[in-house]
Symmetry: C2
Subunit: 173 residues, 2 copies
């Protein structure tokens, strides 16, 4: 399974474009992601994400992107009592990296997942994910996704954003 | 709720003493606790414990003992896929502190929990816990527990061990 995602700043009429495609609304939710790390914030080797969504919480450990080539890079589990965990983490010397408050409308269309996101403090974005089981290279997949975005949303390749919301929020590159 | 626990090295006839009390066998299990921390192992500010027991796994964050006076010192949650978590932790720069392999027979008698433990690499111990909801000081509770141990197991106060298995295994004081 290869998965790739790209995003771009949403214009005024994105919802109409999504509906015109005939994409199916799969979910509409608000979530708050609180990221922690230990030690140096900028050179963080991992993040611990606590996602609160619909009264449920999910804990995720992610090794940071400069270690992307390793096989074990993410683990997650549903949890109870996320506030208590945050308190224990703070008391243990973990530092909060960033909080991402997101409102998302999630659509599906063919192999694409199309998300209309509003990120508190950052603005509105469209994030589109393309997944495939096929034996396709990342480059080919990225081109296919960029073409899809260009054709259906009129966004040029140089306007596409590869950085995730965490790095965008932190102003990192 | 106040809880206190003391342990001592088990002699040959501890099982008979426990049975003579009329204590009830509540559980008989083997568990493996793997402890991780981040940064300095000796000056660790927290431990992350992954307990594997009866095909189930439990994740616990504990702030270390020199921060004992804070309200938020422990959080735990049942988890899936503990081996995957350990791999992600190792890949993220966490270090394994110690592994404690324990066989425990757990008995209850009045307000006491009596555990006959065999710790791989350390030997056999009796660990006794006393809990109370009453408005009792830790000192009074500790004395009561020490007296109970002396009367029923013939162990003197100066033979009692307050260190936990992690510190015992690491040779820490």
């Amino acid at each position: 399974m290869i998965e790739i995602e790209l995003r771009f700043r949403a214009g005024e009429n994105e919802l109409e474009k999504i509906e015109k495609l005939g994409a199916k609304l799969d979910a509409d939710y608000a979530s708050t992601d609180t990221y922690f790390t230990y030690g140096n914030l900028k050179k963080r080797k991992f993040v611990l994400r606590i996602r609160e969504k619909n009264e449920k919480a999910l804990l995720t450990f992610k090794t940071s992107s400069h270690a992307k080539d390793i096989a074990w890079n993410e683990w997650e589990n549903q949890i109870e009592d996320p506030k208590m965990l945050m308190n224990v983490l703070s008391a243990s010397g973990f530092k909060e990296v960033v909080v991402i408050k997101k409102k998302r409308k999630q659509y599906s269309y063919l192999d694409y997942e199309i998300n209309l996101d509003e990120i508190e403090g950052l603005g509105k974005f469209i994030e589109i994910q393309l997944m495939t089981d096929k034996n396709t290279s990342v480059e080919v997949l990225r081109d296919k996704l960029a073409d899809f975005i260009n054709q259906n949303f009129g966004v040029a390749k140089n306007e596409l954003i590869e950085l995730g919301y965490v790095k965008l929020m932190l102003g990192e590159k």
